[in-house]
């Protein structure tokens, strides 16, 4: 049994027919209408059985397909057909091909749309934008998209002015890196400096812990001396290796 694609996955009866043609490996240019009509009817029946709502467009096409099939069954069907400008089968094939073209183009456009959404631009600069504060509002007119853009501007502003609450990423920092940073930043201090001073460059507890480990390392290799005062504050001083 083949997997049944739900009807709401299709963008209309033509989309469904293209799916059925592909699934049954029918030749679109030499379309076997009997199979297509049967498959279409069977599909809609299945959807009906699952109590899925079938939009009127699908039923409208169904009526056309059934009419075509019934005419084929009539002995004098050829005479009737000749009254039409275009053979219904040819007309359907033409429509399916036309629709398929736009479906393909849509795939390309979708990719372009996704790419475009990754390109951001700044909003118009403030001084440039607000020079017209005094405009009178009597001739306001705009489209809803202007509102969306304006709202987006405001939301960006709010987002930027909230503190970043990032997940901790500092665990990737190594003790060695922090040792080097401390050496870079503090090596020119001749006198004592406090551990608190080092913590000012830390953004979360993990970074503080790594900084503490780095200090322990520096003490271990005797690059710094330490001293703890009566307020439990840790004071550090470079040994003369950097003098």
């Amino acid at each position: 049994m083949t997997f049944l694609v739900s009807i709401d996955k299709f963008d209309g009866p033509l989309d469904l027919m293209l799916h059925l043609i592909k699934e049954k490996e029918l030749d679109l240019f030499d379309l076997n209408m009997d199979i297509l009509v049967d498959q279409y009817v069977e599909y809609l029946n299945n959807m009906d059985r699952f109590h899925l709502e079938i939009a009127s467009e699908y039923l409208a096409e169904l009526a056309g397909l059934l009419e075509y099939k019934s005419k084929q069954l009539l002995p004098n069907s050829k005479d009737i057909e000749q009254e039409d400008d275009e053979d219904p089968k040819e007309k359907l094939v033409r429509r399916l091909i036309e629709y398929q073209k736009f479906k393909e183009i849509s795939v390309i456009l979708t990719q372009r749309f996704i790419d475009r959404n990754k390109q951001f631009a700044k909003t118009v600069s403030f001084e440039f934008n607000n020079a017209d504060q005094e405009n009178d509002l009597s001739e306001l007119n705009g489209n809803p998209y202007d509102l969306m853009k304006a709202m987006n501007r405001c939301l960006r502003h709010v987002a930027l002015n909230q503190p970043l609450q990032m997940r901790s990423t500092t665990s990737e920092l190594t003790v060695e890196q922090v040792v080097n940073t401390i050496k870079d930043k503090f090596s020119n201090i001749k006198g004592s400096f406090s551990f608190i001073e080092l913590l000012k460059n830390c953004y979360d507890i993990n970074e503080a812990i790594i900084t503490f480990l780095a200090v322990l390392e520096l003490i271990k290799i005797q690059d710094v001396y330490y001293n703890i005062d009566e307020n439990d504050e840790i004071w550090l001083k470079w040994s003369n290796v950097y003098e």
Binding site: G12, E104, F120, T123, K149
Partner: protein, 182 residues
Amino acid sequence: MNKEEIIAIIEGLMYIVGEEGVTKEQLSQLLELLPTEVQLYLDELQTRYASEEHGIEVVNYAEIYRFVTKTHIHEYAEKLFRMNHNNTLSTAAIETLAIIAYKQPITRVEIEEIRGVGCDIMLRKLQIRNLIKELGRSDAPGKPILYGVTADFLDVFKLVSLKELPELPNYDSLADSENLFD
């Protein structure tokens, strides 16, 4: 003014206007230069920012020149704004837009014939998003509205003009039909 001075001015102006962008004609009027000259400077600026050490580039979708960030920056930008870009268009919307773009000016009934479904609500939505606009009325009975795409349409799909639309596949000959469903 020499070349570098002019390019610097264009760069500064393009920064100020940001997403609004600026047209070649505006710059030409402003700098009192021929559009062809402005074009050269714009091309030069575009080339400079195309190189890898830059995180922004010059694009001219819908003939509007502006700076945008390069695509690989977007993950950082989204983190910074704590925004996930859920700016989406449904397949149905993109199909409808494609039909309008290739066939404009086109009426609602003509679009519906191609898609096989009603598109009344869809057209209204696309109009609100400023992706399509009314281009007047057809002479057909009932004088139906004719639709076309907007500059925002070009922008959203990274197109300088409609001429840049990819060519429609051609299945009119059997030879092409074999890879129809590839």
